[in-house]
Symmetry: D3
Subunit: 257 residues, 6 copies
Amino acid sequence: MQTPDRTRITRFGDLTSPEAAQRRGALLILPVGALEQHGDGLPLSTDTLRAEYVAEAVAERLAGRAHVLPGLPYGVSPHHASFPGTVSLSARLFIDVVSSIVRNLGEAGWERILVVSGHGGNGASLGVVEQDLLATHPDLHFAWTLVGTLAPEASAKLPTAEVSGHSGESETAQVLAIAPSAVDRSSLTAGVRTLQELNAKARLSRIKPPSISVRFEHYADNGVLGDPTTVTAEQGEVILEEIVTRLTEYAEAMLSL
Amino acid sequence: MQTPDRTRITRFGDLTSPEAAQRRGALLILPVGALEQHGDGLPLSTDTLRAEYVAEAVAERLAGRAHVLPGLPYGVSPHHASFPGTVSLSARLFIDVVSSIVRNLGEAGWERILVVSGHGGNGASLGVVEQDLLATHPDLHFAWTLVGTLAPEASAKLPTAEVSGHSGESETAQVLAIAPSAVDRSSLTAGVRTLQELNAKARLSRIKPPSISVRFEHYADNGVLGDPTTVTAEQGEVILEEIVTRLTEYAEAMLSL
Amino acid sequence: MQTPDRTRITRFGDLTSPEAAQRRGALLILPVGALEQHGDGLPLSTDTLRAEYVAEAVAERLAGRAHVLPGLPYGVSPHHASFPGTVSLSARLFIDVVSSIVRNLGEAGWERILVVSGHGGNGASLGVVEQDLLATHPDLHFAWTLVGTLAPEASAKLPTAEVSGHSGESETAQVLAIAPSAVDRSSLTAGVRTLQELNAKARLSRIKPPSISVRFEHYADNGVLGDPTTVTAEQGEVILEEIVTRLTEYAEAMLSL
Amino acid sequence: MQTPDRTRITRFGDLTSPEAAQRRGALLILPVGALEQHGDGLPLSTDTLRAEYVAEAVAERLAGRAHVLPGLPYGVSPHHASFPGTVSLSARLFIDVVSSIVRNLGEAGWERILVVSGHGGNGASLGVVEQDLLATHPDLHFAWTLVGTLAPEASAKLPTAEVSGHSGESETAQVLAIAPSAVDRSSLTAGVRTLQELNAKARLSRIKPPSISVRFEHYADNGVLGDPTTVTAEQGEVILEEIVTRLTEYAEAMLSL
Amino acid sequence: MQTPDRTRITRFGDLTSPEAAQRRGALLILPVGALEQHGDGLPLSTDTLRAEYVAEAVAERLAGRAHVLPGLPYGVSPHHASFPGTVSLSARLFIDVVSSIVRNLGEAGWERILVVSGHGGNGASLGVVEQDLLATHPDLHFAWTLVGTLAPEASAKLPTAEVSGHSGESETAQVLAIAPSAVDRSSLTAGVRTLQELNAKARLSRIKPPSISVRFEHYADNGVLGDPTTVTAEQGEVILEEIVTRLTEYAEAMLSL
Amino acid sequence: MQTPDRTRITRFGDLTSPEAAQRRGALLILPVGALEQHGDGLPLSTDTLRAEYVAEAVAERLAGRAHVLPGLPYGVSPHHASFPGTVSLSARLFIDVVSSIVRNLGEAGWERILVVSGHGGNGASLGVVEQDLLATHPDLHFAWTLVGTLAPEASAKLPTAEVSGHSGESETAQVLAIAPSAVDRSSLTAGVRTLQELNAKARLSRIKPPSISVRFEHYADNGVLGDPTTVTAEQGEVILEEIVTRLTEYAEAMLSL
């Protein structure tokens, strides 16, 4: 067996303790996902897969200046709780876990932490983490983002149904690009595609602000918004490339602070 | 003294218990604000004033179909904590208070609740409340909004400095319209007005996503973004009219659910 | 519009941040109330109205040496929970909110804080807040009082039924004095007036110590103890004058510490 | 060894499980105390001793209709924290422990529970327990009392210094009566005896309402209010007899509910 | 009455505050028990009796170098919850109480604390307390033990049924030795004695590791494992002597740290 | 690309929601690890690697009757907190996360859950989870184990130093077998090897019971107990085979309940 090149390690957990001690200047990227229904064809871990893919891609481009922390594969998913296989942490618990990890690292000397969430439902909690840290660790550079919002251009170009979102065109394309063998292609099925199919509350929820929530069984029987059968891995690659590019640029800016 | 017309009461707290019992179909509007620095000329309660004004204006237009709950005059303001007079609840505590009020009402038979926040810093917490309620009270219609985001058209027309935000043009115009005597006009002073005046982190925070936080003393010495000296009460009225109109329309939609 | 005299501002929330910075020697008065049933004729916010009235009257008499903080309009009201319109915070949550406000102010340099509660059910929680602060902020001067216990002389003179208390003679007289238009006079109705009408447990609860609790629906169908129809605003003024006088004197003593 | 008469067992913990099952109609008495400084001559467990003595005396008089639960020997004592040997639970933790014990028993079928506290500092917390139970266990008969307030007549007759209280005349007399060997008589020393000796804040704290707290080191160097050297066991017996008599009568009333 | 020799006091609560101040070098022993079913013949407080007996015996042998803290008579007993008389604290609450006591003492200058549990169900919680203290009080010497595991030799010699444990031979022998009058000898009855009598899950639970839990009503109708009718007080004395000897030796080692 | 055989999926997160719905009879295995120092040559994620390896090996042998849940890569590691790269959750938080995952699954219809921990420091917390679930989900079959205790035979045969444990012979052999490229072989260094090298407290901690904790910097400068340089991947394979065999057998027994 050839000796691996330890300078090229991207995962923080693959470092030894003395090696970690020498990377305190690095940006640490924490991928957070979810274990929740993603329709008939995408795996329960879809959001974790996407977060980890993006985190590692950014870390690779930063070549030693960033490391990927072990990820959190459970998120805040109350809206999917009635679908089998969903495991949802309360927002409070999710906040505590992320805060705890970040505080440990902040107190041990790391100054730059970026959380990448593959799941939109983690957003409010990450906003709270951000505020809590501002009160207790004002000098830490803590940022977070949803993966799904980082590709405005590619998303605009992707043909989608009138209603499109969870487990729909964009998400499916991404998983086809990242982990094609994880998709049960023959089971991919369209969900709700038109505003007309939505009930009054679900329609109201599409206008923001204000924000109003709807459980996913009230959106669509199969838990899907849009038509996942229409997309390709290539489209997913375009979306992911935009995400990784933007986020790498942002990470560079954080490293310059 | 003339007998007041009790059918025209908008404030929930002004009702008697038997009267409240007869309004279970009504929309209840909870204004939430903050007690925090608003620069040299706006009062600490600026956000509470705005939330209560909007809540009452909407309730009045709905003439008996909506009531304004007693408001919460403290919010989540860690970014302003170093300025005198700021009192900040932790996100967790704010979440618990709002949740508790809503759960009480939900269990007592009210089905439509709308939270109106005059303070952007309450947003993440309200997002968490929304998710928590989805898990425990799936049939309750719970919506929330920030006041500041409900006037996209009037805001686009308001002349502002390159950097504008907290205690800046829009917020000052609104308080001039709502409560002119609460403004210390002679002390209104411009804060940071250009991106060039911001430090690297503050500049980075203007790009979203990702989200990264900055304490307000790192934005501007006087805690102000933009130039509050340039606006008038008339401009505030235009902004408020758009906010109230949009929100009344939304409230009507909630009443139809 | 005439320029208001900012030196005469009594409400803390009406100050700007720089103005607040100059009032660190002042006594801060926090009114806390409740949103709970007050029989057929008094409003749900009765306790908040009384707390705010007293707090502001004391602050006015202290002319700039005291300020009224934004009040808490929700309290600890489990005994009234079965009556429509009651919203009750758990004792724990109420404790946390009051503690949090006081700690914020204590850490920002204010040294004298007085909580005025219009609702007896907040008493145990305020006792806990007092103890907690003794452990963590031993140098802060923190005091609290119930409004209802501050007029022993006027109360002794007020003619009442054998059983008198919640929403009864004294409370009704006070609201008639403070906010006559908030009272639905034509609906005021006597509640339980004699010990004989009480069941065994309710009667036992009138002996103290020990302390034993009874839910209000077990006291009286309309949630009233005593006869609110017998009193006048003038009687309320006498009670309130004694309360405000005593409390102003106490506040003076706190300012001398 | 003679077989003990198991029908005369007063302590709940001395019963077997099948025996306990047959006493669900009994009143359960929970003594709660404190571990805190009691001056130079009284033991740290003074309050626990008094609570347990009273609880057992009442249970004995009720001959099988009441049982004494294992007691809590730690209480809420932040005001004594700076004196060696004091162990203080936070109010919150004390509330949780008492609530938990009572809820267990309530769910297992006991309906009458009386808490007897030897320590005044536990009062606010017990008030919160009472309120919490009202919300969750409305049919449980839960009462609590401080030992110290149950002998108004004997207390009025006891000669005391102008300032008298913690570890003073009454408390010392009681311990001399209950556990003479626990008192280090030769070390009993007077503490603060006159209002004049108190500082301004300590003096203000003697007026109630409002309530304001003072740490005990700010009252008296030796933590004593009054003169414990002037009393006898006989005086303690008179006080205790009044306490036990009143409380037995109250317990009888609870058994009749 | 003869003056007691105060230098021979073993119970911490019997000391005065000035005496406690002089014992900061001592080892403090905290006995923790349970209030839970112990079959037909042993008292509910069996585990507390055993913990307190052992704690006091060790303290006596250490003659002034160790003191017994007031004990906790409630423990973590969810597996016995369906049997009358059981009162179970949640693990979380038990952890908080023990932690709080230890932290108070650690902050007041005591450096050596040993918890002796008469109840196996408290073990996991004490393990958590140990870890928590390691994080916050790294210099405190905190140790804990179950009474039941400290007599491997005597236990090996005690004749027992194939299945033996809770309220069985060893525990009964110990209570017969410590408090014979607390045992209802005529009611002692064998419980489950053979593996064959156990259901599949109960049998699986006897293999460790892994650990799997079974509620006691699924082990045996009377809550007993083994045959308590076969043992004597003398056998209990042998077991207790081994426990006290081992623990005294360990305590000596702690005093030498 | 060939269609993967979805019946052979072992990871729960790789299933779609409809597929998960059909596996409610399966055993779910949750691997939990730690992110903590493992000396100079083992990676920070050592415990997670081992837990996931074992969980997947067991699931594979059970061929569709067991699935591996997404693992928790952070554990309870306060004893390692002073070494770089360690991230430790509080026991309380770890308990909450594991409990939450298990409760979600229990409420969604899964009845058999096995937690496999690669880290000994998670043991006390898992014991608490087991007890909590017994109170709230008595019919769930919940078991947990430490990986390290499941190979008594192979461990007994492995030559080790007098003192051996964390990051020592056994653990190193296992990682060499599982993930040889994750070991920085050239940096592996012996830690403390003899009792004589330990300080008094560290020596005392080797005797159990009682249990007493020592932070790892007080054991050994490099955080290692034993000599990791003496072992081979082959020895690790023998250990792992015993672990996997035993655990598969246990899992079979759980599936038969």
